[in-house]
């Protein structure tokens, strides 16, 4: 559905997207992961045909966005990072007006709007002003709005940022349903659990480049171990103790507050530590997650 080859976007002398290749297939949920400033949103904008590429190739449903912008946009549903609902309009009017922007008939929209209100669980709020909704409701309405033209591809830029856990789970459920109906999802996120929950395949981006590509499980297998053992000895002792247990696991990482040991069997390694006569203040054995992959690939430095 979407093919990018050597895709580049340059703003002045800042390279936002630096020659990336990827493909999104029909019906899959494709994720773009990366820290802030990795080039995720810029990539999304180029796919959404509201930003022209500087170089490389990009086709969406076989069309070139630089030439066929309006046609491509008719195929897409866009859910931007910041809710940009029409604050002057009521909930149902937001859906109706947006449908009209696509040129859809009033008759078609009359039933479509009701269908979408139900999907977004907002039927009871239909006459509320958009600005009166809670964060989760706003996001659901924005997603419903993105579906008004029955798009083949739904683009979601950080769909659950800023939502509470309940609201996130409701949203994931709604996105699953869309996927079941065959809508192709393109999602950017920096939440690893979200990527693991939703994405069939993903790319990890950093500084405009692709660092890794694959399914969540595949990436964990390639870039992290099966399990992670986290032990804390107190901030002052971590470095000193780390030297004694460096041989354990595949890889050890010393952080200011804790030591991470990447291994196949965390419990065994914990026993080994205890046998050395060391007594961690706390210890935790957990399954490795995409977060470990992500941090390994993009580093721990804070991106401002």
């Amino acid at each position: 559905m979407i093919v990018a080859r050597g895709l580049r976007k340059v703003y002045g002398d800042f390279v936002a997207v630096d020659g990336i290749d990827f493909e999104v297939r029909k019906g899959e949920a494709f994720g773009l992961l990366g820290p802030n400033g990795a080039g995720k949103s810029t990539t999304m904008k180029m796919i959404a045909s509201v930003s022209k590429r500087t170089g490389g190739e990009l086709t969406i449903l076989g069309l070139d966005p630089n030439k066929r912008g309006p046609e491509i946009r008719a195929h897409l549903g866009v859910v931007p990072q910041q809710d940009n609902l029409d604050r002057e309009l009521k909930v149902h009017e937001n859906l109706f007006a947006y449908g009209r922007f696509f040129g859809l008939s009033r008759k078609f929209l009359k039933t479509k709007v009701e269908e979408l209100l139900e999907f977004a669980q907002l039927t009871e709020k239909r006459n509320a002003k958009a600005e009166e909704l809670s964060g989760g409701m706003k996001r659901r309405l924005t997603i419903a709005r993105g579906l008004v033209n029955e798009p083949e591809i739904l683009m979601l830029d950080e769909p659950t940022t800023g939502l509470d856990p309940q609201a996130r789970h409701i949203l994931w459920d709604r996105l699953f349903r869309l996927k079941e109906q065959g809508v192709t999802l393109v999602i950017t996120t920096h939440y690893m659990d979200e990527a693991e929950q939703l994405c069939d395949r993903l790319i990890v981006m950093d500084k405009g480049k692709i660092m890794a590509e694959g399914s969540p499980a595949d990436l964990i297998k390639r870039f992290a171990s099966k399990e992670v053992l986290e032990v804390r000895f107190g901030s002052s002792k971590n470095i000193e103790i780390a030297e004694q247990i460096f041989h354990l696991g595949h890889r050890t990482e010393v952080l200011p507050d804790r030591i991470l040991i990447y291994s196949e069997n965390g419990e065994e390694d914990l026993q080994a530590i205890l046998k050395l006569g060391l007594e961690p203040v706390t210890s935790l054995v957990r399954r490795s997650s995409l977060e470990d992959v992500f941090l390994r690939l993009t580093g721990r430095t804070l991106v401002e």
């Binding site: 912008g69 309006p70 866009v78 940009n84 922007f101 696509f102 269908e115």
Partner: protein, 281 residues
């Protein structure tokens, strides 16, 4: 329920119909939907604000036309006919009315929609083009100018300030004036980035209103000032409306109309260009 359906007239089919038309990247032939959106928003908006723009020129007419007019008596119009002072300033206030209506919506409201409500960004994420947005928004501003002008005419008629049938031409005249100001106003606003810059519009509007031959004939000024004023849009608007209302139709009308046609085209061109640069980079 299916989210990817294939409605008889799908968004894609609608967009594809324009595939081979010229300007398909900037115009989808659907500027009316922007107008519809504004109508929807307007239904729940504050009527007092809308009304205030209408009564303002009316107050000027009362205070100057009938108040100060008592002291002045009459003046002579462009063709040397004597007219009452109220009849002299009424067309100028009508032109101002059309201008104000158009300017309110095309400056501050456009600024808000662009920078805070992100409305244009949202619209341009659909299959609409920047020219649809520009024409739709300008038409809305124009409509407000037209409504003000008609309202003003309705008040003037019983006051005996509409001497001939020619005066009815002042209504299409007001449409032209409102269209010109709306188009130009939106173009300028689309380039401005801060509230501070927006205040410059107001700073420019007031003296233009006071000195464009609104309250007295231009010939009291030295020649160079006259030339400056004759370059300003409101002077052309006032001359046009005064010509229609007082029935002095001559070739100069053509120049005033041409002035506004240029304003409309230039405004649309720059607005479209700017919206494209901002939102379809």
């Amino acid at each position: 329920m299916s989210m990817i359906g294939l409605a008889a007239d799908s968004a894609v089919a609608i967009a594809e119909r324009r595939r081979n038309k010229p300007g398909r990247g900037v115009y989808s032939g659907r500027s009316r939907v922007a107008l519809e959106r504004n109508l929807m928003a307007f239904r729940s908006s504050n009527w007092i604000i809308v009304l205030s723009g209408f009564v303002e020129p009316l107050f000027y007419l009362m205070a100057f036309g009938f108040g100060i007019g008592q002291l002045i008596g009459g003046v002579t119009d462009g063709s040397g006919h004597p007219v009452s002072y109220a009849a002299f300033i009424a067309p100028a206030l009508l032109a101002t009315s059309a201008m104000n209506g158009a300017i309110y919506d095309s400056t501050w409201n456009v600024f808000f929609k662009m920078h805070f409500a992100k409305l244009y960004e949202t619209m341009l994420a659909t299959s609409l083009g920047p020219l649809d947005v520009a024409v739709g928004e300008i038409s809305w501003a124009l409509l407000r100018g037209l409504v003000y002008a008609i309202g003003f005419m309705a008040v003037m008629a019983p006051l005996g300030l509409i001497p001939s049938w020619w005066a009815l031409l002042a209504i299409p005249g007001a449409v032209l004036i409102a269209f010109g100001f709306a188009s130009f106003g939106m173009a300028i606003t689309s380039y401005l980035k801060t509230f501070h810059q927006m205040n410059w519009i107001n700073f420019f509007m007031l003296p233009m209103f006071l000195f464009s031959g609104t309250f007295y004939p231009l010939n009291i000024y030295p020649e160079w000032i006259q030339s400056v004023i004759q370059a300003l849009p409101l002077w052309h608007a006032i001359q046009l409306e005064r010509g229609f209302m007082l029935g002095n139709i001559d070739s100069s009308i053509g120049w005033h109309i041409a002035y506004f046609l240029v304003m409309i085209v230039a405004g649309l061109f720059f607005t479209t260009r700017r919206l494209t640069a901002l939102f379809i980079k």
